[in-house]
Every structure is written in structure tokens, then in C-alpha cells.
Homo-oligomer: 276 residues x 2
């Protein structure tokens, strides 16, 4: 859809925000998003598919982005598949330097999965330097699989509901409002069902900035990593009964910490100079 020569190829960034990011004084994750997307030269598109109040949400983001010096802010509603496949929508996304998926209910984002808009976003992220952010519902939708809902304080199959996501970040399962809503049981339940996935739980006003298989943590909270690659799972007979889980690795990463998703290793940042 866009022609990128090998010389022009540059990886984008993914900003996955745990929800409730500061939208009033323009600091934290949103400031980072604007900075990565081109500062005052950014052309930002706000995708409001997840929310039931798209006008209000778009206006709030327009206000904070204007405050951060951005003049070009466009709402893109994408209420269903046909719109997400339309030439008009693709034109809007093609011109963007930054795309933000708002919060709301992630079930509404399912209609975009596999659409032409979805394909264009993947392509522009992996070679055209596009910066994509998702917050709250928009955050969990970034993965190939997303958490659709569920709660409960035990780790059990019935504690989590999962469906296909936008596939902008493979092999991870993302949860958000993480510490604030005590969602470790839900994330562990999702990971117990597929231990090869990496669980990433993001607190409010906190984000991971992903590039080339690793990420940095920014914001005021913590990112919780659940790595069950070496774990043993004892499935219960009933979906409501707690599962046994042995040898899960847990990392808690506040701002400034980094994580390598391929090697599954955290470190205290920044990236060693030799590797940059």
C-alpha cells in the first residue's frame, strides 16, 4: 500500500499505555508519544472505535495534543469493518505520523481485526516509522490476542476471556489498569492457558515504548512481566477451580527499566551505547 525501499525502511514505535494517562497537563506517556511522532510537526490520528463517547474523547485528546504543540489532530471513528476497509480511512492513516487508539471497550475493536486499516498499521509500524499508541482498551488490543474481560481473584480458566487482537505486538498478552484493579490473577490465568506468551501488565499513567523487540518503561507506575516459559501448569477439572502454577518468573519494572522480549531479560536502563 505504501512503497518503501530498503534504504527508507525504518522501524516505528509502539506505545502501550495502561490507561488513565495524564490528559490535562500533557506530561508522561502522551508527551512521549508526541515527541516520538514528530513533536509540533506530528500528524496525529485518534482512533475512537473502542469508546461509546467518541466526540468527547477525541476533543479531550485534541486539547492535550494542541497543548503539546501539535496542530494536526484528526479523529478516525472506524465503527465497523467496512469503514476500516475504505479508501478514505486508509488515506487518513497513510498521512499520520502517530496513531492513538483510545480506551473504552476492547470488544468494539474486534471488528477492526484483519481489516485493511489493520494491515496498513502493521506495515507502517514495521518499516515506515509510524508511531502507534494504545491506551486501556486500546492497549490490550495491540497484541495478537487481547484480554476481552473477566475478573476474579483466583487463577482459573473462568477468570479471563480472550479474543484476537490487532497483532501489532506478537507473543504477548497485555493487561492494563493493572495494579490499580488487581489484575494479576487475570493475566496469570491468560498466561496459564498459553505459557509461551509473555504477560505484560501495565499500571495506569504508565507505558512501554517498544522498538525492535525490547521496551523501556515510562510513567508513574510499574509494568509487571509474567514469564511462564519454564512453568508447570496443573489444570483444574472445572473452569472455576484454581489452577496450580509452578515456577512462574515475575518482574516488576518501574520507569527507567528495560526489557528484552526475545531473551526475556529485564535490566536497569538505558540501552548500552554499543548496542544503539
Amino acid at each position: 500500500m505504501t512503497d518503501i525501499t530498503e534504504e527508507e525502511r525504518r522501524d516505528g514505535r509502539l506505545l502501550v499505555i495502561g490507561g488513565a494517562e495524564n490528559r490535562t497537563c500533557g506530561t508522561g506517556p502522551l508527551k512521549e508519544f508526541v515527541s516520538l511522532a514528530g513533536a509540533d510537526q506530528s500528524r496525529i490520528v485518534v482512533v475512537t472505535t473502542a469508546t461509546e463517547k467518541p466526540e468527547q474523547v477525541a476533543a479531550e485528546y485534541a486539547q492535550v495534543f494542541h497543548r503539546l504543540g501539535v496542530t494536526s489532530v484528526t479523529e478516525l471513528r472506524l465503527p465497523h469493518r467496512a469503514v476500516a476497509d475504505s479508501t478514505d480511512s486508509l488515506d487518513v492513516l497513510r498521512k499520520a505520523t502517530g496513531v492513538l487508539f483510545s480506551g473504552g471497550d476492547q470488544s468494539r475493536i474486534r471488528s477492526l481485526v484483519g481489516s485493511k486499516a489493520n494491515a496498513l498499521l502493521r506495515q507502517r509500524l514495521n518499516g515506515d516509522g509510524l508511531v502507534i499508541a494504545g491506551t486501556s482498551a486500546g492497549a490490550t488490543a495491540m497484541g495478537r490476542w487481547m484480554i476481552l474481560g473477566g475478573d476474579g481473584h483466583e487463577v482459573a480458566a473462568s477468570t479471563v476471556r480472550i479474543g484476537p487482537g490487532l497483532g501489532l505486538l506478537d507473543d504477548v498478552l497485555i493487561d492494563m489498569h493493572f495494579a490499580e484493579r488487581g489484575r494479576l490473577p487475570r493475566l496469570l490465568s491468560g498466561i496459564a492457558l498459553d505459557t509461551l506468551r509473555l504477560g505484560v501488565g501495565i499500571d495506569e499513567d504508565t507505558a512501554i515504548v517498544v522498538r525492535e523487540g525490547r521496551f523501556e518503561v515510562i510513567g508513574s507506575g510499574v509494568v509487571t512481566i509474567v514469564d511462564a516459559d519454564q512453568a508447570t501448569v496443573g489444570y483444574a477439572e472445572c473452569d472455576d477451580d484454581p489452577m496450580a502454577l509452578f515456577d512462574v518468573r515475575l518482574h516488576l519494572l518501574p520507569a527507567g527499566c528495560w526489557f528484552d522480549m526475545e531473551q526475556r531479560k529485564p535490566w536497569f536502563g538505558p540501552v548500552p551505547a554499543a548496542e544503539e
Copy 2:
């Protein structure tokens, strides 16, 4: 205080209950306690130091123990150190086959730490076959250190308050009402402050039955083990700020699972026959 020859020596059991155990129909952890303490031949002492309503609590336990066939149930109030050092109190404890510490506020149990009653209980547990149980506040008091309070959803020094416990179970830090009250951040905070301790979080109506350095899980919930022996901690400058924690091992153990506290290894029970 009691003379035990090497031939007579037999280890007791420790039952650590996560609180809110079934007290009406006499199943679960309390039934196990009575069974271990001698069934209908048990002589049970209920220590009500932690609660502000000792008469009511003692009456409740008396009722369920009577229902389980026990005729000898005695309340021991131990409101302060002098009573815990008295000959009368020691006589009561010396005759018991099972001692239960009730719930309430664990801060009240601090006055017993280091008392003659405390020493007698340690001695009778480690050689005289005494069965000791603690539930809720009485559970965390079993450790050499106990969690006195604190809450918060981040892992930070200010999230937990710790003080000396009865030392009936060394090298562990116990928390209770664990999944129900979302206490993993509190337990992780306590363990981050001393990574050599093993964190044991016990759900309601759930217990560990400890004997010779290992335990079995019984009851309807889960026991969460936090093992930070190989972990790296990044302490924050302020007590309120979240700490970084890398490489914590987490185990979730429902009923039937076992854990070896020395080797720090879980397994699906029972104990292999050759080892018994």
C-alpha cells in the same frame, strides 16, 4: 519445661490458616486440626489474644470443636506478657494436644513474643508432638517476623509494616486473606526488604500443614509462594515509590500440592512413599 527423651521425641505440626475458615459445618482446616490433635481425644486450647471479642470467638470455636467430637476445649486469653509468663498459663498449654491462635489484630500478639508461653510452644512443637494452628492474625504471627499491616497496590517499602513474630516457623513471611484482599503487593514488598525470606500468602478457608520443613496445602483456595532468593531488587529513593524487582519465582498451590521449604520446590502431592 517438659522433659522429653530422644525416644519420645516427635515433631508437631503447624497449621497456618488464611482466615475465614469454615466454622459452621466443621470441614476443611479445622477438621484437619482436630484430626491431627487427637480427634475426639484432643485437648484444645484457643488463644484469643488477637481478638477484641474473646468470649464470642472462644464460644464459636468451642461450638465447632464440640461438633467435631472434642470435649476438652479451653480458652486462654493471655492479654499481656505477665499472664503469658505465669505458671497457670503454662500449665494449660502443657496439657494441650492442640493450640489455636484466633484472628483479630496481630499487633496484640506482639506482647507474647519472647514470653515463657512462646518458648513452651516452640519447645512442644519441636519434639513433643504438639499441633499449633493460627488463623488470620494468628497465622502471620507464626513466623519469626510477622506482617503488622499496610496496604497499597504498588510494591514499595511503605506498603508493608513488619514486626517480630512467635518464631514457630522460621525464614518465612506469612500473609493471609491473600487473594481475597489482593495482598500480593504487600507480601512482595515484605520480601523485597529481605529477599532470603520465603513469602507465603494463604487464601481464606485454606491452610498449610507444616511438618519437617515441608507443607501440604488443604482447603478451598490457593497458597501463593514468593521466592526472591535469585531476585534483584532496585530500591526506590522514597518509601512510597515503587521498587524494581527482577526474577522473582512465583508458585500457586491449590489443595493437594506440596512444597519443600528447604529446597524451595513445589510438587503435586503426595509425598513419595520412599521418603515417608
